[in-house]
Every structure is written in C-alpha cells, then in structure tokens.
C-alpha cells in the first residue's frame, strides 16, 4: 500500500500546488499507515527531486528524458504510466493544475480507472480514502469512493490543503528513465506567452468591487461601477462578464484571471463558482450581494446581503457617500 504524488514544475520552477498535494498525501498516508513517495518529470530534475526529498517522503522519483523538456500530453502520460506500472502505488495524487487537467484523465484511462478530479478534502473509512468534491459549481458537495482495485487517481484543488503542514524528513532520490520516442508525440507546443502587458494590476488594489452574471446586461455595469467609485476601489469581474466582452479580460478575477487579496472584496451578482473563489478567497473582508441565499459566494463571505442588486447597490452607494461625508 502506498501513495504516489506527481509534483509539477515548469522550467525548473515548482508549481506551488505540488506541495499542497504532497501535504494532502502526507495526511492520508499518516491516517492509513501508508508510505508516501513523489515524482517529478522534466529533462533535468534531479536537483528539484532532491529538494522535494527533504520532506518526509519515502522516495522521490526523478523522471528524466529530453522529450519531457516541454510538456506534451503524449510524453507525460507515457512517462507517468511507465513509472506507475513499475512502482505500483495504490493511490496517485496530483495537483489540479491546468496541466494535470490535460493529461491526468488520459493517464487514468490507460489503467481503466477514472480520475477523481478537483478534490477539496477527504476522510478515511475502513482504511480507504473517501474524497470530497464539489458539484454544481460549488452548490453541493459529494463523497466519492473508488470501487476498483489499485491504482486509483485523484487531483487536489488549489488551497484545499496547507503546504506549511509538511514535515521535514529525508527520502531517497531515485532516477527513472522512461522509454519515450519522438514519433509518438503528436502535438507540437510553442513557447508560452502572455497576451499583452496588463493595463490593470488588480493585485495592487486595496478595494475591489467585482461584478458577475447577476448584472444581466452590459449597460447595467454602470450600477456597480458607481459602487467601485464610491468606495475608491477597482472594478473587476467574474469570467462570464469578460467572456461576453462586457469588461476587458484584464479585469477578470479567478483561476484564469488574476488572484487578488485586497482588504475589501465586494462580490455583486457573483454566485461563486470555484474558478472565481480561488482568485479571491484570500481577501481580508468579503462582502457578497446576491439574490440566491444558497449561492456558494456566501460560503466565503464575512457579510452578506440577500437581495436584488439593483436595489441594494444604489442604496449602498448612498450610504457610503453619507458615511464618507
């Protein structure tokens, strides 16, 4: 019985979610009495593997091959498949990154298994993990159980476990050389790029007023803009608003936009899908205004007003002006 964590790096830099996942594995390993190993893949990752081996792990596999220098689903899936067949872990845990979303379902399918993606927690029952994940954009939770024999696969949501709970230890680094051939890699990725220099740095804003689907129409955004002005804050939005072109993409908060932690975050007409929450739940004070009292945004809010934003927001603007004199 054992747990294998697939850590993620790009160009020698860790994706920090890797260590949150390692923390999740450490906790499960402790509770089930199972050893935890880790693996990192790339063209040269021995140094990174040594870094990871400083934590309390049995072993860190350094999966090295020149064809792993740049990520492709074909090469990474083949490399991890070979390691898993050789190391025989019971459970493979991965951080729920964009890259994992790209290859992990393929990897699990190679074993006739299904990835439990984006888990936010777990408990152990009868020595086996039960994973908790969100359904319906966070409105409900579900417990999931593996009904197949090992290996099983799961990915862990950003922020679900704390990396600072990791204990120091000292495991062995073992190099693993997968057999890969260039002809089996069908996709050709280019160099990652950023669209343009961002005009708006939301991360520097002390106060952010963010607008979501509840605003209904582009012309209504002015209602929320007046609140941002009254508070002296920046205007931001959830993804659907930017998808519709109602506000520029550079004002988007969430997993595909900016991650912010202002002292005040006001979410107006935002239901609080996880993709949005991961971008703002670190804010010091969160206010949610939404007509649906069951909206997941209220899960992270300090103060909530359940009501029609077209009534509440203008009233709020008035009260703020009064308070500021």
């Amino acid at each position: 019985m054992s747990i294998l964590v697939i850590l993620e790096q790009r160009g020698g830099v860790w994706n920090r979610m890797s260590f949150e996942t390692l923390a999740a594995a450490a906790q499960m390993g402790r509770e089930m009495g199972q050893p935890v190993s880790a693996a990192v893949a790339g063209d040269r990752v021995a140094a990174l593997a040594a870094e990871a081996a400083a934590y309390k792990v049995a072993k860190v596999y350094a999966i090295e091959h020149e064809l792993l220098a740049r990520y492709t689903a074909d090469a990474y899936t083949a490399a991890f498949e070979q390691l898993i067949r050789s190391a025989n872990p019971d459970l493979v845990l991965m951080p729920h990154t964009y890259r994992v979303r790209d290859f992990a379902p393929k990897l699990a399918t190679r074993f006739g298994r299904v990835l439990v993606s984006d888990a936010v927690g777990h408990r152990i029952e009868d020595g086996r993990p039960v994973l908790v994940r969100q359904l319906f954009q966070g409105k409900l939770n579900a417990d999931l159980r593996f009904t197949s024999a090992a290996p099983n696969f799961a990915s862990i949501q950003a922020g679900a476990y704390r990396a600072d709970s990791l204990e120091a230890g000292g495991g062995a680094v073992e190099s693993f050389a997968p057999e890969l051939s260039a002809s089996a890699i069908r996709t050709k990725p280019g160099e990652p790029f950023r669209e343009s220099q961002r005009g708006v740095d939301l991360t520097a804003a002390g106060i952010i007023v963010s607008v979501g689907r509840g605003i209904k129409e582009k012309d209504n955004i002015a209602v929320v803009e007046r609140l941002a002005e009254a508070l002296g804050g920046e205007l931001a939005a959830s993804r659907p608003i930017c998808d519709n072109g109602w506000l520029p993409m550079e004002r988007q908060v969430g997993s595909s936009g900016q991650t912010v932690a202002p002292k005040l975050y006001v979410a107006v007409g935002i239901s609080g899908a996880i993709q949005h929450l991961v971008g703002m739940k670190g804010s010091k004070t969160i206010v949610a205004i939404n007509k649906d009292e069951n909206a997941p945004i209220f899960e992270v809010a300090d103060y909530g007003i359940v009501g029609d934003l077209f009534e509440v927001v203008p009233a709020l603007v008035e009260e703020i002006k009064k308070a500021k004199g």
Binding site: L115, F136, P189, F298, A315, E318, I320, A323
Partner: protein, 256 residues
C-alpha cells in the same frame, strides 16, 4: 471537415437543488434543463469552423429523452444532425463509461475534429473529452481559446494559468476541449428552429452498445456543504441592509 460536438444537458443555472431520496443525487423532478454552457461554446466553435471550411457539424449527446430539447436547440443554431445515446439513468455510468458510450456511438462516423466543452456545470469533472480522445486513440488539447485550420492539422491557443497561453499544433483527426468565451454565442433564428424539426437525430440505446465494465468510482453521498466561515447576513430592506453593512465596514472591518 466533419466536426462532432459533444453536448450535455444539465440543470438550468439558477436551479434550486435538493438531494433526492437516495441521498446520492439531486431530485430532478421540478428542474428546468439547458445546454451545458461550455458545450454551447464548443458548438459555436464548431459552427464557425464549418462556416469557414465547409463540412458538417454533428451533435453527440448521452442522456435521457428530455435531452432531445437541447439537441433540437443545437440543430436550430445550425448543427446538421445529431446522435442521441439514450440513457435514462446517467448516474450509473462514471466518466469512463460515458466516454465509452460516446466512442462506440461514433464508430460509424469518421470525424476530423471532436469538440467538447472543457467541463460540465453539473458534475464538473472536466475530463470526458480527454478520456474520449484516449479511447479513440486521438491527440487532444484542453482549455482552447482559438482554433485555426492549417492543412492536415490545426493550430490552437491553449489557456494556461494566470494569463499565460501557448499555441499548439495538432494533426487531424483530433479532440479539443473548448473554454467558455472562445466566441460570441449565436441565437437560433426562426428559420433555424423551423429547419431543426426535419434534421436527423440518430437514436442509439445505451444498453445496446455498453461495454459492461463496472464503474471505477461512485458517488456515495450528495449534500449541502458545511459552512466553514461565519457569515453575517444583513437583513431588512435594501436601505437598511446597506446602512448596516456600511456601519460594519466602517467600524468592524475598518475599510471605510
């Protein structure tokens, strides 16, 4: 180009959800349903590619008979025909099972390109497309924001985290999972709605094509999440709630 668009019908976005008697799924009896939003974007991407390069767009849905309504909507928007794998109880299939049904329903087709939304708004596993690609032996790319055809292959723009992107070249046939916002969604025209009534929907019984593998994962319980944070809900009319909030922002949180 023959383009398959995987399309799922999900509960409407504003639905009030309750768990059913089994405690393992939601009570669907009073719900309205709609096309899964990311799939609507996949359809839009497919229709635009067809308009540019010719060919056909075929909708592929696994779901109960009620999903016919969403299929008709897709046909009204411009899809040419549809394949409906009928399954009354989707819950008895895991992702691998559903992708397996899709793969087998596609056997008579020879698609150049398969598009799916990047995830569903109900289960949100975000993997049916990738699993389908693996079952069909096709290359894939996920979270796509742009598709451009260059002969024999396509160039796509993949979204990475935190505002980064990468371009990827993929030989056809291939599968892409499409990100919401890839293009502006169209509405069905009256003419389109009329035409949709005569378009072909090939119906396939799930039981007839199932491979029979037992699910590898199961949902054992569905429930309302426990609150971890103490939220103070401010009540009263809009003006009273606003005044109460301002007082707390000023004296409690000290952000005013």
């Amino acid at each position: 180009m023959k383009i398959i668009v995987g399309l799922k019908q999900v509960p409407a976005r504003d639905s009030l959800l309750r768990t059913d008697a089994s405690g393992r799924w939601i009570d669907e009896s009073d719900l309205a349903f709609e096309i899964n939003e990311p799939d609507a974007y996949a359809l839009e991407a497919g229709l635009q590619l067809k308009e540019k390069h010719g060919g056909e767009v075929v909708v592929l849905t696994v779901g109960p008979p009620r999903a016919t309504q969403s299929i008709r909507e897709a046909l009204a928007k411009g899809a040419d025909r549809a394949i409906h794998v009928e399954e009354e109880n989707l819950g008895r299939w895991d992702t691998l099972g559903v992708a397996g049904l899709m793969a087998r329903a596609l056997e008579p087709e020879k698609p150049d390109l398969i598009l799916t939304g990047l995830q569903s708004d109900d289960l949100g596993y975000g993997q049916t497309g990738v699993v389908l690609a693996e079952l069909l032996g096709l290359p894939h790319a996920t979270i796509i924001m742009q598709v451009e055809k260059v002969d024999g292959s396509i160039r796509v723009k993949r979204e990475l985290e935190e505002g980064w992107f990468e371009n990827v070249e993929i030989p056809l046939p291939a599968l892409l999972t499409i990100q919401s916002g890839i293009a502006k969604l169209r509405y069905a025209t009256l003419m389109g709605i009329k035409k949709a009534k005569t378009k072909e929907i090939r119906r396939v019984e799930a039981a007839g094509i199932a491979a029979g593998a037992a699910p590898a994962v199961e949902i054992s319980s569905v429930y309302v999440p426990h609150k971890t944070k103490q939220t103070e809900i401010l009540t009263g009319n809009a003006q009273q709630a606003a005044a109460a909030l301002v007082e707390r922002l000023k004296f409690g949180a000290r952000v005013l």
